[in-house]
């Protein structure tokens, strides 16, 4: 293994040495290169190895104006700029990360359909794919849904949690392949995912507590005089959880890619091929770490989603208990300690 790594590193160094002559003239803007690669774009750039060429696929720009003429490009200091949503223009252009997300979705659906394809008349799975798949499904159901949400409400949210877990996992992993990118390294994507969790959480809360109980919960159960203080606090509290989800996933995925790019970029910053002997093994290590992080972040997102949904479900119980709505809970109580955590 170590031998193979040394061989790999020296090979990489040799290639870098060979190409360094060509790169001598142009000063590489490493930081610009990296940020260009991790950022979203309106085109797909597919680099051709061992050359400076790349194939560029331009992606369609779709603009939906809410009022006539809202999407007219405006000239500013930075060049032509398309007005934002506040100006009444919704830009739903297909971008690099959109494509990556769709690719991940297609791969996800394809592989899950292959894995889950089995003799439905037999209750026991056969084969690696079916077993692995069922193991993951059972893990999400038993360890995430039922532990955090409860035995009778938990199973209802299993499909959501499973989809979140696998979708995020596939998007994370996709970025580890050459020419691909992690859609989860984009704030908008993680924000979209967090919005889904947010919506599901609120629905769970309303389902459990009823609309009245849900609204009562927003008052924090204090004296009406304190409501002007309490309601904004509770209202903001609703958004901190999805915000944490958004930033955590985004930062984790982005940071890993930037670190790998920088380790490799060191070769070009220091302008010496020997750097590859150090930076390539390091980048390889970070790559493995990224592989691990891809799973961990998918798990963390799903686990926290389950936790938040569990809090929403528990809201019903503690709305009744704390605000004394005078109707006795018959169902088994949820984990209140966890709900307050």
């Amino acid at each position: 293994m170590r031998k193979a790594m040394v061989l790999f590193a020296s090979l990489f160094a040799a290639v870098a040495w060979g190409s360094s002559g060509a790169a001598e003239g142009e000063k590489e803007d490493v930081a610009g290169y990296i940020l260009h690669h991790v950022a979203d774009a309106h085109e797909l750039e597919i680099e051709i190895p061992l050359s400076h060429d790349h194939v560029t696929i331009h992606l369609p720009q779709i603009l939906i104006p809410f009022k006539a003429g809202a999407c007219e490009p405006r000239m500013t200091d930075h060049g032509e700029v398309i007005p934002g949503i506040l100006a009444g223009c919704l830009d739903i252009s297909i971008t690099k990360h959109t494509v990556m997300m769709w690719l991940a979705a297609v791969l996800l659906i394809g592989s899950i359909l292959i894995w889950s394809n089995r003799d439905k008349t037999k209750l026991v799975p056969r084969g690696t794919g079916a077993n692995l798949f069922e193991m993951l499904v059972l893990f999400v159901r038993d360890e995430l849904a039922i532990k955090n949400i409860g035995k009778e409400e938990g199973p209802r949210y299993v499909p959501y949690l499973l989809t979140a877990f696998f979708f995020i996992l596939f998007m994370n992993l996709l970025g580890l392949f050459p020419w691909m990118a992690s859609a989860t390294g984009n704030l908008a994507v993680t924000c979209g995912l967090a919005v889904c969790t947010f919506i599901v959480t609120q629905i769970a809360g309303i389902r459990a507590a009823g609309l009245g109980g849900y609204l009562a919960h927003l008052t924090g159960g204090v004296h009406p005089l304190l409501w002007p203080i309490m309601i904004p606090v509770e209202f903001l509290g609703l958004f901190t959880k999805p915000f944490a989800l958004t930033v955590r996933l985004f930062a984790n995925m982005l940071a890993g890619h930037i670190v790998i790019f920088f380790l490799l970029g060191l070769i070009f910053i220091l302008q010496h091929p020997a750097v590859a002997m150090v930076s390539v093994p390091f980048a390889f290590g970070i790559y493995l770490l990224e592989l691990f992080v891809a799973f961990v972040q998918a798990y963390v997102f799903t686990m926290l989603s389950a936790l938040f949904i569990g809090m929403g479900v528990a809201m019903g119980h503690h709305a009744h208990e704390e605000h004394g709505h005078g109707h006795k809970e018959t169902g088994p109580s949820h984990d209140h300690g966890k709900a307050h955590a």
Partner: protein
């Protein structure tokens, strides 16, 4: 140094509403497809399996209890049968003993009776024989005496005499011994 300018120039901290829209749309579509094709069937299968397993365990438990009960019943029946058999044997033995005793007693009684009747007959026959011998002896002696004295004797007077004589004779072998002497 370059970071602020890079951050300003780069779009990676920008949140594009369009992408949020696409994310939600994609996510919902993926969820619908997977729920329909994968999660639904698999969760149903798992549920079915769990129910089946718990049912099997339950019925196994029930069967075990039943088996234990049956085992206890069988044991009880065996013990009862054994006890009954022992009792029967004992009863038979007692009957046998009683029967044997009865038979023994009966045969003993029969034998005793037979012995007694035989003895009685012997005694009778003996007495008869003696009486006959005596009568014959009287006649004989009268005849002998008549021939000896050659005269007619008064029947009743002499018969009494002869009787007296015969009475004086010893019974059995001693009489013959005297006669031969």
């Amino acid at each position: 140094m370059f970071l602020p300018s890079v951050l300003a120039a780069s779009s990676f901290v920008e949140v594009r509403p369009g992408l949020i829209f696409w994310t939600i749309v994609t996510f919902v579509l993926v969820m619908v497809v997977l729920r329909w094709k994968a999660w639904g069937p698999i969760l149903q299968l798992v549920q079915e399996r769990e129910t089946q397993i718990s049912n099997s365990v339950e019925s196994a438990k029930k069967m075990l209890v039943e088996a234990e009960q049956k085992m206890a019943e069988a044991k009880e029946a065996i013990a009862k049968a054994r006890q009954e058999a022992a009792e029967t044997v004992r009863k038979n033995q007692a009957e046998m003993t009683a029967f044997r005793d009865e038979m023994m007693a009966k045969s003993r009684k029969d034998a005793d009776e037979f012995k007694a009747s035989a003895r009685r007959e012997i005694d009778e026959q003996k007495a008869k024989a003696i009486a006959e011998v005596r009568a014959m002896a009287v006649d004989l002696s009268i005849e002998v005496a008549g021939k000896l004295i050659n005269e007619r004797m008064d029947d009743s007077k002499h018969r009494a005499l002869a009787d007296q004589f015969v009475q004086g004779l010893p019974v059995g072998g001693s009489a013959t011994a005297r006669r031969s002497a």
